[in-house]
């Protein structure tokens, strides 16, 4: 059922794009932006894939850890925050600066390391 519905929808879109150059242009722009955003997100995802703040923090000095965080851009830092749920109460503003993000990740990793150290002595 859904395959027929989708097939009908694409047929309408295809026909409209062929008959309406303005629509075709807007469609191209939309697809191009999606592809661009998607590629950027994938690149950022790949850059942070091997970085785990809770694992890296105890292995480095605070300065070295902060410096490493500084090597990421704001998008990548936001992805780290989201992936490791470092802002559970939603305190970060959507347009938080890179500096703010670095401090946020640093503090979250530091607190987690302190809590874990206590757990190991449970």
């Amino acid at each position: 059922m859904i395959d027929k519905a989708l097939s009908g929808l694409f047929k309408v879109v295809t026909e409209e794009a062929a008959a309406n150059p303005t629509f075709a242009r807007r469609l191209e722009d939309s697809l191009a932006k999606f592809a661009e955003d998607h590629a950027a997100a994938r690149r950022a995802g790949a850059r942070i894939a091997d970085f785990h703040p809770h694992i890296e923090y105890p292995k480095a000095t605070p300065e070295a850890f902060r410096k490493r965080l500084g090597g990421f851009d704001a998008t990548e830092l936001r992805m780290i925050v989201a992936k490791h749920r470092l802002d559970p109460a939603g305190t970060l503003k959507p347009r938080a600066s890179k500096k703010v993000l670095v401090e946020h990740v640093f503090n979250a990793a530091q607190k987690r390391a302190e809590r874990d150290a206590k757990l190991f002595e449970y």
Partner: protein
């Protein structure tokens, strides 16, 4: 030959302890040709139901062949029976009659510890002596059947009971099934030091305490994050048990015998990998 003894334990419930025991026992006995004894120390009796099925479990319960009856004779006295008389042979609904035996638990088992405490404390024993006593009873039980098995698996209840303590004291290896999330991870910390102390007392090291990641959801970022952290902080099995409907369904008894593939469906190969890694870790190659 002395069997390998392994406890499967976590303070947290619902992490897959009984499922881990059942999977390992069935894979190792049916395809690994190991003689396996499962001892259910959990009054919830989940692994007993999974491996014996409800009908046989009821028969065993009615004929007083249960873990509670075994310990009962030491608490209340009566005609002593050998440990091996309590064991149900060739359980499991896997085809081919795998050499898998079971000592079932029942909900009544939760009262034994309380009754034993009341009685023995009134006789002047302290908690440490009671622990020692439970430990000796469990050890002599295993010695009674040691020649018959390559592997003894203890399914421990959530929390730490005196029986679970005894199993840990007796076990050469400990497996801690853990869902990669915050509260399940807390369950490791809750008894890790206790387990390490037990290992060290026997001149073992903590590299005999292993974490097994269970109910893993690949697309769940929390699971990804916590699993990576577990692997960094603990000795973790390479094999990860996924959250899978087929594993949950395998818990239900089938009157018709079935293969491992039929029972565990698409998760059968994960079960095999886990069993192979387990064999290697405990040295039962």
């Amino acid at each position: 030959m002395v069997p390998r003894t392994v406890s499967v334990v976590n303070m947290k419930g619902g992490v897959g302890k009984s499922t881990t025991v059942a999977c390992l026992a069935e894979a190792l006995s049916s395809e690994g040709q190991l003689r396996v004894l499962v001892i259910d120390l959990d009054p919830q009796s989940n692994v007993s139901m999974m491996l014996a099925g409800p009908d046989r479990w009821a028969e065993l319960r009615n004929s007083a062949r249960t873990i509670d009856e075994y310990f009962n004779q030491y608490v209340y006295g009566g005609q002593p029976r050998f440990f091996r008389e309590f064991i149900a042979s060739q359980v499991s609904d896997i085809a081919g009659d795998p050499p898998l035996d079971l000592l079932i638990s029942t909900p009544e088992f939760r009262y034994i510890e309380r009754h034993a405490l009341e009685k023995w404390v009134s006789q002047g024993f302290d908690i440490r002596q009671l622990n020692t006593r439970f430990g000796r009873l469990t050890q002599s039980a295993i010695e009674n059947v040691g020649d018959s098995y390559d592997l003894v698996l203890f399914d421990c209840p959530p929390g730490i009971s005196m029986f679970a303590e005894a199993a840990i004291e007796l076990s050469e290896f400990i497996i801690i099934p853990t869902i990669p999330d915050y509260v399940s991870r807390l369950g490791i910390f809750a008894f890790r030091k206790r387990a390490i102390r037990s290992m060290e007392q026997r001149r073992f090291t903590e590299d005999r305490i292993w974490t097994l990641i269970t109910k893993y959801e690949e697309s769940n970022t929390l699971h990804q994050s916590e699993a990576a952290l577990l692997k960094d902080q603990f000795n973790v099995f390479d094999t990860v048990v996924p959250q899978a409907e087929t594993i949950a369904r395998a818990a239900e008894w089938s009157d018709a015998r079935r293969t491992l593939d039929q029972k565990y469906g698409e998760a059968a190969n994960v079960v095999r990998r886990l069993a192979a890694e387990f064999r290697e870790r405990v040295g039962l190659i």
